[in-house]
Amino acid sequence: MMTAVAFPVSFAPTARRAWRKLTRPHVVLGLVLLGLLFYLVMIPLFIMIQTTITWQVEDQRLVRGVVPGEFTLFHWDRVFNSIISQAMLWTPLQNTLVTSIGISFFALSIGSLLAWLVVRSDLPGKGYISSIAIIPYMMPSWTLSLAWIVVFKNQRIGGSMGFFEALTGIAVPDWLSYGPVPIIITLSLHYYAFAFLLVSGALQSLDARLEESGEILGASRWQVLTRITFPLVIPAVLSAFILTFSRAMGSFGTPAFLGNPVRYYVLSTSLYNNIQSRLQADGFVIGLAMIAIAIVTIYINQRVIGVRKSFATLTGKGFTSTPVRLRAFRYPIFIIVITFLTIAVFAPLLFLGYESLMLKKNSYDLSNLSLHYWIGESNPKIADGIGGVLRESQTWASTWNSVALAVVTGVITSLLGIFLGYAIVKGRGTALSKFVEQVAFLPYLMPSIAFGAIYLGMFAQPMGPIPALYGTFWLLVLVSVAKHLPYSSRSGTAAVMQVGSELEEAAIIGGASWLTRFRRIIMPLTTAGLVSGFLLTFITTMRELSLIVLLVTPATRTLSTLNFRYSEQGYHQPGNALAILLIVIVLFSEWFVRRLRGAQIGKGLGA
């Protein structure tokens, strides 16, 4: 055997050892996943950057004699330093910061307060309140903006008057109808639920004995709250602030509905406009700017949390403690909370529902009510022939697309999450594990709308083994799976972490192969995590708009994008009917899965 003298004698054993290390399941899995991540995340990011620094075919309209594909800083110069920079970048940037900070502030204040009341006080009906409070999180963020328009639109811009004006006769000023104020209000009413989930999680895992020790040492309830409880949950609160901020920054539907009519643009809508006007490279520069902001916020988050994360008390299991007595304020606070939830959760649905029943746009009279937009036959005289949504074959086609997309994405994502979790947890401490974890997190930083735009370009023609996917259902699946990677890898990591390594080692001793171990030990023991991950992905994919709005074609249209198209074109009634249909499907599925498996969306949140 040993014919070559070039190798030292000890070469073969060393090679065998290295091979063994390389073929360990988590290494193989890590490498495979890294390849996948490279394909789904790194290449798109690379293409995005490359697009911004090369001449595009479209640029030939703007500049004479340029050769597409050659290097240029033209787009960066145009976005950052030209006559249109102000309109394209700086004003939207300023608007983005104003609205996002406003939204984060209000959402967090409301969410934290509510979380404390539900977790720590003796507020009546806490169970119901907390399940109602998270409903906005399950509704698409833009439904509230549609409801806002129903109520507060004015004749000058909205074309017809809204509920408010019809009832009171007072003309609604523009600043209340459209622009930053309604954007901040509606998105705060959506994102408070996110903050609520994060903060109540932190409060629940707070060891009550820490508070009780303070009490025994003579601190009053108020002192305990301000000197012990509050400092301990500050990291969670700050982290919630930053997560809310980065989400608010990337939101698209609401600023589009409420900002565009008054030319109030934020970065995401500016990006969309650029891409719609075929200025893709400019759009991508804005996208990169958004990524930069996201990186800065994440960096701040890690700096802030990194210092304070070491509160071991926050990782403990749930503790029960004596709830704080609200005494005389108990019922007043209860009434305030109920009123708030009514405004945030039920009122929007009610208004959307009412408008969907209005045959003519302007008349709020009861005689104008009709089920036409729900079940009516198509009539060319009404809404250009759009019939009742329950009759339109379009509705059912897009419902089917939505559900199929959400289910397929949910299944793939949660499975992928467990695989990612396995590779990350079992390889803990190795460079590969760290790399996989970091790359899987990247899509979090990329604005959905930009992500969609890259996939639009990337898969228009065949890519390696993948055929041209444009216009197919699978392109939507691919982009949704890629965008959900950060969440799935986090929830997968948490799920695998809960399975002690000895449980797998016991199976190794028993002689089980890796596949057997995965199938019979890891998978069954991570079911709860899998289901939570599925549920979260299902819900966010059902309501997804910005990610896929550029990628859908009439054949692959989903409920949310059909709704967007109706609303954009001014068909408010059928649009609202669709929004309600979508919400009903999401709420029902959430309830169904929860009943079935006892999973909670808070668990898959991975924040």
Binding site: E502, G510, P524
Partner: protein, 365 residues
């Protein structure tokens, strides 16, 4: 029933050397306990033998055949080493019934269903959990879970038992009961057993051999009696025994009739072990005799604390800055702060080199 050899085995985790050039032989059928404080590398040794960790250097042989060799690049997977393992946490699969847990290994070995059923029925019955096959581990007490873990190890009839602190999650009474059952199990099966624990009582009561480890190295490899009576160095002396051994600094001079030991506050003459220079004397608490009455041969001490424990009394006594612990099995009444006279058994004092900590001279037993 195998012989196990570890030859110059080293294992590092990053920069930490968990096991440092360790060589160890376990003869067939022996019950060897690895004993040491947490972090001494004992569990790593067990895991390397199991095949769950790969050493960085050295060889591991079972019956003379290498199952691991760094030199030759040999690695035999755990399932082919004919061993069974009980984890400290038991690592019972919570989603499987007791029966499924125990059957797993046999299923992997593709044994016929009928045989599996018979085998498991027998084992569960032997371990007194015969009625619990259809339960889930969470529905059982800690002691019963422990038996399931044992059953799972026993089912494929391994020739080597690896037990990683199997009793540490049980309450004190159950632990004592299980000790005798494990000892019986070892005798009935005759399997070569490697037992890992930090509990010296488990080690002393169950094993045929004890290996005391510290920082990845073997401190002493001997029988339980030897480890107790003649600890090889101060670490072992200090680690073994409860209440702890008295370790007192002394200056030794060889004199008439034996060694003369001069302590800080008193002296002992005619110690049978021979040494000279700066030493540390190791005196077991039971080798000191108490007299409540003045004793011309005794040394006067003052009682600091009295801790009666039913069958024995542990007394802490002071003389100036010197403090000694005495174990007394007679039923005597002592008040705190009263004066007592102590006689040290000059035949049973071990002397250690103060510099190196290793045993200079052992008392004859």
């Amino acid at each position: 029933m195998h012989t196990i050899e570890l030859v110059h085995v080293t294992k590092r985790f990053g920069k930490v050397v968990a096991v440092d050039d360790l060589s160890l032989t376990i003869e067939r059928g022996n019950f060897l306990t690895l004993l040491g404080p947490s972090g001494c590398g004992k569990t790593t040794v067990l895991r390397m033998l199991a095949g769950l960790e790969e050493p960085d250097a050295g060889d591991i042989l079972i019956d003379g055949k290498p199952v691991f060799s760094a030199q030759e690049g040999i690695f035999v997977p755990p399932a082919k080493r004919n061993l069974g393992l009980v984890f400290q946490s038991y690592a019972l699969w919570p989603h499987m019934t007791v029966y499924q847990n125990v059957a797993f290994g046999l299923e992997m070995a593709k044994q016929p269903k009928q045989e599996i059923q018979q085998r498991i029925g027998g084992i569960l019955k032997d371990l007194q959990i015969g009625e619990m096959g259809q339960r889930y581990p969470q529905e059982m007490s800690g002691g019963q879970q422990q038996r399931v873990a044992l059953a799972r190890m026993l089912a494929p009839k391994p020739g080597i038992f690896l037990l990683d602190e199997p009793l540490s999650n049980l309450d004190a009474r159950l632990r004592v009961d299980m000790r005798s059952e494990l000892k019986r199990l070892h005798r009935d099966t005759g399997a070569t057993t490697l037992y890992v624990t930090h509990d010296q009582l488990e080690a002393l009561t169950m094993s045929t051999h004890i290996v005391v480890m510290k920082e990845g190295r073997v401190q002493q490899h001997a029988s339980p009696a030897q480890v107790y009576r003649t600890p090889a160095n101060l670490f072992v002396a200090d680690f073994i025994g409860s209440p702890k051994i008295n370790l007192l600094d002394a200056t030794a001079t060889l004199g008439e009739g034996g060694t003369h030991l001069k302590f800080a506050t008193f002296e002992i003459a005619r110690v049978l072990t021979r040494a000279s220079g700066a030493v540390v004397a190791g005196i077991r608490p039971e080798d000191i005799r108490i007299s409540p009455e003045p004793d011309p041969n005794g040394i006067e001490f003052k009682v600091y604390s009295v801790l009666p424990a039913g069958s024995e009394i542990v007394i802490n006594a002071h003389r100036g800055a010197t403090s000694v612990v005495i174990r007394e099995t007679r039923d005597i009444q002592l008040e705190m702060d009263s004066v007592i006279w102590l006689q040290f058994d000059s035949k049973k004092i071990n002397l250690y080199d103060k510099q190196t900590g290793s045993l200079i001279a052992a008392a004859k037993n």
